[in-house]
Subunit: 324 residues, 2 copies
């Protein structure tokens, strides 16, 4: 079973060994009340369990932000779901559900999902860049998740693509997320349309710059608006640079670009790949498949279930190593 | 035994299990004549063998540029040592020396050397950035070298730190190597001093811009030359961004900055770390040790020997897995 805890909704689903989501249920995420947050997840798990009429063998949970996966503990601060910050979610839920529960960052889980059931099936190494409100990332090398010394492994959304670029909302500078996240794209458009009452984007937003969304920027760019085009041009070039970093540095079998913004990126695939060619070594890029996968609502659940499967296998391998 | 094939000289050495280089010998690298290139390496290996009076158990060889380590084959093009391009060095030397011979990129070998015998002793994951004429890099995660789908893994010298930056000599754009390699630093200074006959750097170079070296630029920056300072400021910021990418993306235990330029970088450590803080997540950076290790002539040999040790262990582990 996989549980995808999002900033607004939580989805739980039962996933078959081939990645098929056979049943799922959705509930609003309890963001603030710690006690109720856990109750909500337990209730959702029970509900999906009743739907399929059989018991899952393990539960994987993907949450936004940093996670200490070894301890099953959600990192602090989790700005998206403050109720979970610092919680030993794995142990607490494990006790209440009587099943092994594994917790990790949602995009790490997504990377495992793509590797086992998605665009990376059969690959040994894969990098996911998930552009939504922010940009998350997950890295699997030689079949294993890269978690890093402090559980920050895979945060390529905050790889600097411009060392003298603008300040990012993470506190860093020139991060990919400024250029390729929904929030970054909308903020760049707001700044650049300021005072231009005739702007197509401002009109679409009813005259309120704060109502400009990334979707409006993509639409206006497609319709020829030069300000929107300048923003989206930087999105493509920054993504190309990040792909360059990934391809030259890690040279994985597959790079998957997904997340809520991916639907808008898909028509720009040729431009993103051209930008990647401007940065990556040609033979390295030729050996890496770059695919844009528009996010679907079940990808998170599939990823979380893949996490459970991955961790169960890791446990078995560890036990085998210990006994040999 | 480790053999470090450089662009101008080749060093062979016998390395004890604790990383101590007990004997070594040096000869000019035969760059162009393929037959003589191999003879030269074989002669050097024999010479060092005679010096210690006992047989090595395996030989590791580090060469510049891409290497297909699985096949022991040097990649093409190897601009530094054209005589080796496309050669199956592992097999050819193995036949002639009657020993297992392992070949890899020199900075991959350096990364293993730092992990086993140097700044990364006891660590599980480590990234080396080696700034010399160019910038090479090597990545070890969870004890294993990251080689990548086409043998390009670890080429973080060509991670773009500025997506709209200048063209790099690799054909890419805004690569770390433009800002942090000896060649890149010298070229930036040449371009910026053009026409300024009073420039401290031009004077040091006897009036010939082509004679400006990176060492001159570092010296002039230390003496207050504003043009040199602008170049070196970018060097520090670009290195900080690359450290940010490494720390946020891979979060290794250790980052080692070494190579010929590292001696000039050591006094700038505080500025480079400040630039890294401008890009990396604070808790991730806190978990990663960043050290500047001025390159020494024996580091390459130690790295190449570490490669041999690593590959012998990998073989044993593989055999054990296959038989279990």
């Amino acid at each position: 079973m996989g549980v995808d805890v999002g900033g607004t909704t939580t989805v739980a689903g039962v996933v078959a060994r081939d990645g098929d989501v056979v049943a799922d249920a959705t509930a609003p995420t309890e963001r603030l009340n710690p006690g109720r947050a856990l109750d909500g997840v337990v209730a959702l798990i029970a509900q999906v369990g009743r739907q399929v009429g059989r018991r899952a063998s393990a539960i994987g949970i993907g949450v936004p932000g940093p996670v200490d996966a070894r301890r099953g503990r959600v990192g602090e601060p989790v700005t998206h779901v403050p109720a979970l910050a610092g919680r030993a979610l794995g142990a607490e839920l494990g006790r209440r559900c009587g099943l092994p529960v594994f917790v990790d960052n949602d995009v790490n889980a997504l990377a495992l999902g793509e590797l086992m059931f998605g665009a990376g099936r059969g690959a040994r190494s894969l990098v996911v860049l998930a552009a939504g409100t922010g940009v998350g990332a997950g890295i699997v090398l030689d079949g294993r998740l890269v978690r890093g010394a402090a559980g920050f492994g895979g945060e390529l959304g905050h790889t600097p693509v411009k060392f003298d670029g603008p300040r990012c909302f993470c506190g860093g500078r020139g991060c990919l997320a400024i250029y390729a996240s929904g929030r970054g794209i909308a903020e760049a458009a707001r700044a650049r349309t300021a005072g231009d009452a005739g702007s197509r984007m401002l009109v679409a937003a009813g005259g309120d710059p704060m109502a400009i969304t990334a979707a409006m920027v993509f639409r206006a760019a497609g319709e020829g608006d030069p300000v929107a085009q300048s923003v989206i041009d930087e999105t493509c070039r920054a993504l190309g640079a990040a792909i360059g970093t990934v391809v030259n540095g890690l040279n994985p079998d597959v790079v998957v670009i997904t997340g809520g913004v991916a639907r808008s990126l898909a028509p720009l695939e040729a431009r993103i790949l051209a930008a990647a060619r401007d940065h990556a070594f040609a033979p390295a890029l030729a050996a890496t498949r770059v695919v844009i996968v528009p996010g679907d609502k079940r990808a998170g659940v599939r990823g979380a279930a893949a996490l459970a499967l991955y961790e169960m296998r890791e446990r078995t391998a560890k036990r085998r190593r210990a006994s040999s």
